[in-house]
Amino acid sequence: MSSRKPASSPLAELPEPFRKYDVGNFFDEMLQADGQVRPHYRHFLEHFAKVSPEEFEAKRSAVDLAFLRQGVTFNVYGDSQGTERIFPFDLVPRIIPAKEWEHLEAGLVQRITALNLFLHDIYHEQNIIKDGTIPAHYVMSAKHFRREFMNVQVPRDIYIHICGTDIIRDDKGQYLVLEDNARCPSGVSYVLENRRALKRTFPEIFEAGGVRPVENYAQELLKVLQHTAPTGVAEPTVALLTPGPYNSAYFEHTYLARQMGIEIVEGRDLVVRDQHVFMRTTKGLKPVHVIYRRIDDDFLDPTVFRRDSALGVPGLVNAYRAGKVSLANSIGTGVADDKVMYYFVPRIIKYYLDQDPILPNVQTYLASEDADLKYMVENLDKLVVKAANEAGGYGMLMGPHATKAERDDFRKRILADPRNYIGQPMISLSRHPTFCGDEGFAGRHIDLRPFILYGEKTSIIPGGLTRVALRKGSLVVNSSQGGGSKETWVLYGNE
């Protein structure tokens, strides 16, 4: 190497398809600003260089076809045909070295621990409110705060068993928490399926890659579920409660149930008798002890929450209160998802653990605080505004990209209902080389959703779902809005 004439740019050293790659003004996961390859990508690139463009294209379409055939799909709503689509999968993996992962892991464990303590507190003594650390009205007005659920003893005091926290990197490469999904986070099946697909596609890269495995997620999940079984039940029967085949995550529900070897049930399969939950089988009623529920609180029990729920089980909440059945996640965890509560998480960590947050939040303005409100309405062109309880990229304003009319509209909405809005500066998400058709390999914005399991111990599968905004310039990585996914590799080492 040293005998060679110094290249005009380090890009010349890269495999051919990357030589025109433009890092732009962004933090690029693979390349440093000067075009040098980050150490933890070197091994991958060396092997990847041996794949010709034709071969790459062939492998890519083979993977798409396999996903379609296997039905690794999500349902598209509002489409009477019940269209199923594959979640576009980009073959260039996102790679995280051990040191960065340890940092992420520590931050996520800290966060979920604090959130579980917080939930226990607000559904019992409410010390954090009495102490004035969080104003009472924020908690009480949270859309997913469940008054019905005050003073209920939940098994092992665990509220959030499964959490999918969304993480981004800013233009300096700093990891920031964007939001917590503490209700029914989904996407883990894609983590597992993507890994299988990439292993089939590039077996040779994995052989010496030092990539940590993700396969044992289902086992760990089952352990967490069994751990929370009602007291006195030696061999609990665990079931997964799905809304049904029309739900967008139905593939994931069946996938996880099969991997865990448990029954997948719908509300109509369950019945409550004398505060015990049973499933209807061909041999009569069989008891169920732990339910991994993938339906929302609102629909869980028509006698307590929404009366018109067709998905729920009458009497389920009563059985839960009586300690005869366990639910994961527990009821009322949605408070922790509230984007206003997100603002308080650093304080929550400090309050319960007396530690500073390892993973910072994105700077956030609360419209219901007077000073913040003033700043927000005057600076909408600099901010991303989000409704507190919307998901899927809905109820959102991307200030810098919005028209004046859109901003004016949002200003009115914010002033009318400040509790429901937060503002954040536009974060310049990090980018990752991604195959973009005619454009070849180009930088596209990404985020990361690791999956955290909180049971007897806290475990996080090394990896997670990396979502990528496939549209040029787009910051929106949602599957419903043109996003795709990538494999996430966590390495044993740092290069």
């Binding site: 296997q70 967008s248 995550a249 067709a310």
Partner: protein, 347 residues
């Protein structure tokens, strides 16, 4: 096993069997037409209507098509989404049921069902059907056989397997009897039919082919097709795997394996009715069939098969609570994503 799961496995299997039988029936009759010299509207109608009637859908057919021709009938039986019993609908239903129990069946099985479903929904299927109907039907039939093979080779022999068996054999007994009934117009109302005319002989051999029974029949009775022997063979043969007697025997066994109750006893109506029908078939001869007339016999037989299906549902599946309106259910299932359940919740 969850009642809902048992129900889905049972119907998955029935619909696959139904698609296969329909494919064979349409294919054979399309080919049969090639042997006729010239056909006017009336002759075409006489040829095709019994086939439509055999699935009991003639009213539906007339509401959608003005005339019974090869084109309209095959369109109705193959691709029509409005015909609940078309191959297209059957495969769609089989796939929907399989999707509900994906966690219970082997990946290979699911992928194969999904593959034929995607194929039937693709423009290629219609093109293949136009270019070479025979190849098209071959694909459908072979897929069904492949699915049966995959099921045999991959499903644990537990309760679910016996529900699959029950669905398959109940459907098969029903379809064989219906295919046999297609030619009833050429038979006397009572008494054994005599030798068939040349045209009729072609029709009766088509019946045999529609049940993949031609070779088996020939080996037993030689190449001369006699309606009485065909009827006896398809209804009463003890060892031909598509005969009604054979199918009912396997249905009966499957039902008893589900409950664990021995032959000669019963613990629910499905077992009682299946056991009784099997005994009738075992203690019947061709003379008994023709004494009441073939068409009447088949009519009664189909009533009994329906009753077994109904009793099976009552015994294992029926759930005494209201099932919500399908649309409402669907809306609520979809709504769940609003709460961040989908992969889609970043901004």
């Amino acid at each position: 096993m969850l009642s809902r799961v048992a129900n889905s496995l049972y119907w998955m299997s029935r619909y696959i069997e139904r698609a296969e039988n329909t494919a064979r029936l349409v294919d054979v009759n399309l080919q049969l037409l090639l042997d006729f010299r010239s056909l006017d509207d009336e002759a075409l109608k006489a040829h095709w209507m019994p086939i439509v009637q055999s699935s009991g859908d003639d009213e539906l057919f007339h509401s959608q098509y003005p005339k019974a021709t090869g084109k309209t009938v095959t369109d109705f039986l193959v691709f029509s989404p409005n015909n609940y019993n078309s191959i297209y609908s059957s495969i769609g239903q089989a796939r929907e049921n399989a999707r509900m129990v994906r966690d219970q069946i082997a990946v290979e099985l699911w992928e194969e069902i999904n593959r034929i479903y995607l194929y039937l929904n693709s423009p290629r299927a219609k093109k293949d059907w136009r270019d070479s109907p025979s190849d098209f039907f071959h694909t459908v039939r072979n897929t069904s056989l492949l699915l049966q093979g995959l099921t045999d080779a991959t499903i644990v022999r537990n309760e679910g397997w016996f529900f699959i068996q029950a669905g398959r054999y109940l459907e098969r007994a029903d379809k064989t009897s219906r295919i046999l009934d297609v030619r009833h117009a050429s038979l006397p109302a009572r008494g054994a039919p005599g030798a068939a005319s040349q045209t009729d002989a072609l029709g009766w051999s088509a019946v045999l082919r529609s049940c993949s029974a031609w070779d088996a029949y020939k080996a037993l009775h030689g190449a001369e097709v006699q309606p009485a022997l065909v009827a006896e063979f398809l209804l009463l043969s003890d060892d031909f795997p598509r005969s009604v007697r054979f199918s009912v025997r396997h249905l009966n066994t499957a039902l008893r394996r589900i409950s664990g109750v021995h032959e000669g006893r019963f613990c629910n109506n499905a077992e009682k009715l299946a056991g009784r029908l099997l005994a009738e078939l075992q203690f019947s001869t061709a003379d008994d069939l023709f004494e009441v007339g073939l068409h009447s016999y088949i009519d009664v037989l189909q009533g009994k098969l329906n009753a077994i299906g109904e009793a099976l549902f009552q015994a294992y599946i029926f759930q005494p609570f209201q099932t919500p309106d399908e649309n409402e259910l669907r809306q609520q299932e979809e709504q769940q994503q609003q709460a961040g359940t989908s992969v889609a919740s970043l901004p």
